[in-house]
C-alpha cells in the first residue's frame, strides 16, 4: 500500500500522481492521510484503484470517479462523488449537501447521514444512506436508486423523473409529483441487492418506495407537438 500525507504533498500533486497511473498499474492500493478538509481529493480518477482516506474531506471528494473504490474514514463536505460515473465511494461518517449530485453510475454509500439535496439530479447512480437525508433529496432525479435507511427531510423527490427512492424511516414531506408506490417482489429484491452491495444490514420489509407520478408538464403528450 502506498501511503501519502496529502498535507505535505498537496492536493494537486496527489491528484496528478493518481491521474498519471497507467491502465495496467500495479500501484493499486493507496492510503491518504491528513486530508484536513481539503477539496477535490481523489477527483477525476479513471483506474481500478482502492483508496482509503483517513480523516474528514472537504468539497467534491471523488468527483467524476470512474472505476476507483474510495473509502473516506470520516465526514465529507459538499458535493461528495459529484457526477460519479462508476466505481464505489463510501463515507463512514456523514456527508454534507448534494452528495452524489448528477451521478451517472456507480455506487455511493454513506454510513451516517447525508445533508440536503442528496442525489440531486442523479442520472443513474445508486446511493445508499445508512442514516437520514436532508430536505430536497433526489430533486429532479432522473435515473438510479436512492436508498435511505433512516428518515427523509422535506420535499423528497421533487420533480422526479424515473429514479426510484426507498425509505426505511419517516418522510417529512414529498415534493411536487413524487408519490408513494407499491413495493412488489421485484422492488424488494432490488432493494435487498442494493443494501447487500452497500454492506448495510437493514430489513427490506420496512421500506417504502417512492417515484414519479408523471403528471408534470414534460410528461404530458399534449405538449409533444410543440417541439
Amino acid at each position: 500500500m502506498i501511503e501519502v500525507d496529502v498535507e505535505a504533498l498537496g492536493v494537486r500533486a496527489l491528484n496528478e500522481r493518481l491521474h498519471r497511473l497507467p491502465p495496467d498499474t500495479n500501484e493499486r492500493l493507496w492510503k491518504i492521510t491528513n486530508p484536513k478538509g481539503a477539496h477535490a481529493l481523489a477527483a477525476g480518477l479513471d483506474r481500478p484503484l482502492t483508496i482509503e482516506i483517513e480523516g474528514h474531506v472537504g468539497y467534491y471528494c471523488g468527483g467524476m470517479n470512474k472505476q476507483a473504490e474510495i473509502t473516506i474514514r470520516g465526514h465529507a463536505g459538499p458535493g461528495l462523488a459529484e457526477n460519479i460515473m462508476s466505481g464505489v465511494i463510501r463515507v463512514t461518517g456523514n456527508a454534507s449537501q448534494s452528495a452524489a449530485a448528477s451521478g451517472r453510475g456507480g455506487l455511493v454509500v454513506i454510513d451516517g447521514d447525508a445533508s440536503s439535496r442528496c442525489g440531486i439530479s442523479m442520472k443513474g447512480v445508486d446511493i445508499v444512506v445508512g442514516g437520514c437525508v436532508g430536505h430536497m433529496s433526489a430533486f429532479m432525479a432522473q435515473a438510479g436508486h436512492l436508498v435511505v435507511c433512516g428518515n427523509a427531510g422535506a420535499h423528497l423527490g421533487d420533480s422526479i423523473y424515473e429514479a426510484v427512492i426507498y425509505v426505511g424511516g419517516d418522510v417529512e414531506s414529498l415534493g411536487s409529483d413524487c408519490i408513494e408506490k407499491p413495493m412488489t417482489d421485484v422492488h424488494r429484491s432490488k432493494l435487498e441487492q442494493l443494501l447487500a452491495s452497500a454492506g448495510l444490514r437493514a430489513r427490506a420489509e420496512r421500506f417504502r418506495r417512492f417515484g414519479s407520478a408523471r403528471q408534470l408538464y414534460n410528461f404530458k403528450v399534449d405538449h409533444a407537438a410543440q417541439y
Binding site: 484536513k36 478538509g37 481539503a38 477539496h39 472537504g58 463536505g77 461518517g93 440536503s116
Partner: protein
Amino acid sequence: MCGIVGLFLKKTALEPFLGKHLSAMLDALSDRGPDSAGFAIYRNPAPRGSVKLTLFHPEPDFGWDHLAREMSEEIGSEVRGEARGSHFVLTAAMPVETARHWLSRHRPGVRIMGVGDCIELYKEKGNPRDVVRRFGLDKLAGSHALGHTRMATESAVTTQHSHPFSTGLDLCLVHNGSLSNHNRMRQWLSRHGIEFQTDNDTEVAAGYFTHLLGEGATLEQALKSGISDLDGFYTFAIGTKDGFAVVRDPIACKPAVLAETDDWVAMASEYRAIAHLPGADQSRIWEPSPATVYSWKKH
C-alpha cells in the same frame, strides 16, 4: 462566496491563544473571500462606568492620541486608547451616547466600528492574511471571536462594506450569502430610527437584529423572527458579550460546520478552517440544520 468563522472558548487557559487560532481559521478561508476581512474579538472588559469603542479612520497617521487627549479634557473624564493598524480602541469613562456625540461633533470623519464592554471590531480591504497581520490578531487574547473573509457580491469592496457589522452594544454579525429584500427592509428600519452607513445587505440584517433587541426580544427570539422576515441566502454567526449564535436560512445552500470539544466550540463555512484547532480530529462535528438557532453562552 465569503467565509465565516467563529471560536468560543470554554476554558480560560486557552484565552491567550484565541487570536492565534482565529488568524489560522481566517487564513484557511482566504480563497472564499480574498477581497477583505474582518473580525470581532471579545476581550479586556472596560472598567465599570466606562465604554469601549473601536474607531476607524482611513488616514495612516491619524491623530488618535490627540483625539483621546482632547476628548478627555473637554468632557473631564478619563479616556485611554490603543492604536492597532488603521483602528483605535478607545476606553472612555462616560456613557456611550456622550462619547458618540462628542465624536460626531469633533471628529465627523471617524467611523465607529463597534461599541460595548468587551467587543473590539477590526476590518479592512485586502487579503485576509495581510489584514490579520496588520491588526496583529495572532497576539490578541480573548474569550471568543468571529471573523469574515469577503468575496463581494451585493455592494462595493471598501472597509466600510466589510464584515463584521456591529449590531448594538457588544453585538456583531458576520454573513455568508445575500439578502434579496434588504432595500425594503432598510426603508422600514429607517422609519423606525435605525441608521445605516452603507448600502450593504448585511448591514440591514444587523440593523434588523438591533431593532428587535431594542424592542426587548432575546437574541434567540430575534434570530427566529429573522428566519421569516429576512429573505435570501444566509449563514449568520452572531457574537454577543458572553457567547455566540449560528443560524442558516431554510434552504441552507450556504455551508456551515460546527465542531465542539470540552475546550471550545467552533463554527466555520468549511471544516478546513477548524481542522487545525487542537483536538479537532476528536471533536464532535455536525452540520447545523436549516432554520435552526444554535447558541452558546459562558456559564
